[in-house]
């Protein structure tokens, strides 16, 4: 743990969980572990922070990358880009930056791919995937639906 009165300048890396309540000016790498930035903690990194799991109660100025998940708690402040498989964002957290979701390959598909290289197995025909449009498939101003629109006007082409 880095306590409230501590300031660290430089790169931090290791293989144990870390809680920061002080100030870290540098990059942090805890690839297999959890990093918690406490309510009074501040991290400012050039390349940013990499960990298995990152939980922010305090403030961060720099990019965050987590293999499992990033949590930004209420009243936390993060300016930087996020990259993870999962995000948990609480209301009233301040965030500014891009968010990239890491797509994890489904285990079944991965196993099928691995099996296919060893022995070809006939695959059942895949069921048709539900259209993502299903949620928005109704036409606008559909007479069957009560419409909130009283009028629509299109501006002139400029």
């Amino acid at each position: 743990m880095i306590g409230k009165t501590l300031t660290v300048h430089g790169h931090l890396s290791g293989r144990e969980d870390l809680v920061i309540d002080g100030r870290v000016e540098g990059d942090i790498e805890l690839i297999e572990n959890r990093l918690t930035i406490g309510a009074g903690g501040h991290v400012q990194g050039e390349k940013g922070v990499k960990a298995r799991e990152i939980v922010v109660f305090g403030s961060v100025n720099g990019d965050l990358e987590a293999t499992e998940r990033i949590e930004i708690k209420k009243n936390a402040k993060v300016v930087g880009n996020l990259r993870s498989a999962r995000f948990v964002i609480e209301d009233e957290a301040y965030f500014k930056g891009n968010i990239d979701t890491i797509r994890t390959e489904p285990k079944v598909a991965a196993a099928a791919a691995a099996g296919a290289s060893a022995k070809p197995v006939p695959q059942p025909a895949p069921a048709p995937a539900p259209s993502p449009l299903a949620a928005v498939a109704e036409p606008i101003n559909s007479p069957a639906q009560p419409s909130l629109i009283q009028g629509a006007r299109e501006g002139q082409r400029r």
Binding site: F87, A93, L133, L148, I149, G151
Partner: protein, 215 residues
């Protein structure tokens, strides 16, 4: 205003009043139009200026879009002094610095900007500059979604947190302190987006104007 709509009841043939939506939720035809496009075209770069929240992030991630999120009003409050905002005059260099910090994207690199009702709470000099910058960074055919409150409403009101419920429904609730609201009539809205190709209005029962602007 939004609350008024959320309690709107439709009278069924039996004479019972049935709420149209869950408390706080409203259907948005403008948002629905944007959603259609976002569903059809994967891997879009979407800018959300209403601040990050979990439902919006989940919604855009589900379709594989890349989301840039910022609470523009909070950024303005942090960057500019109350004096700069009250005087309604901002040094051009300060303005440029703010835009470079908040909207620093390559030209024509983004596909949609969700402004919600934010633009009405931005000082006029800043509002024009933000729209101008959006014109620069949005790709051709990209959309802006913006909401404008009725001109006859109060001078001060709260901005709203807009949470996406599904492809056509939003949950809108007041957030933060009340702010001065800039009145926009339809002509003023068209004028501020005059460089854009089209401005499409969706008028609602509560006179909120939902606007889709196409680059």
């Amino acid at each position: 205003m939004f609350e008024r709509l959320t309690h709107t009841a439709s009278k069924s043939s039996a004479g019972n009043h049935t709420p149209e939506y869950a408390l706080g939720a409203r259907r948005s035809y403008a948002f629905e139009t944007i959603t259609r496009r976002l569903v059809e075209q994967p891997c879009q770069h979407v800018l959300d200026f209403g601040g990050l929240n979990q439902p919006n992030l989940d919604f855009f991630s589900k379709f594989g879009h890349r989301l840039y999120s910022e609470d523009l009003l909070r950024s303005i409050d942090t960057f500019f002094t109350p004096d700069e905002i009250d005087r309604r005059q901002i040094e051009p260099s300060r303005l440029e610095q703010f835009l470079d910090e908040s909207l620093d994207f390559p030209d024509q690199s983004t596909d949609a900007a969700l402004c919600w009702d934010v633009l009405q709470f931005v000082p006029p000099v800043l509002c024009g500059a933000i729209v101008e910058r959006l014109f620069r960074i949005l790709a051709p055919d990209a959309y802006i979604l913006a909401y404008f409150h009725p001109e006859t409403g109060p001078q001060k009101t709260c901005a709203h947190l807009c949470r996406i419920v599904d492809g056509k429904t939003l949950m809108m609730r007041p957030r933060g302190a009340q702010r001065m609201i800039q009145p926009f009539n339809n002509r003023a809205i068209e004028r501020i987006f005059q460089r854009f190709r089209t401005v499409k209005f969706f008028l609602t029962r509560d006179h909120l104007r939902e606007v889709i602007v196409q680059r």
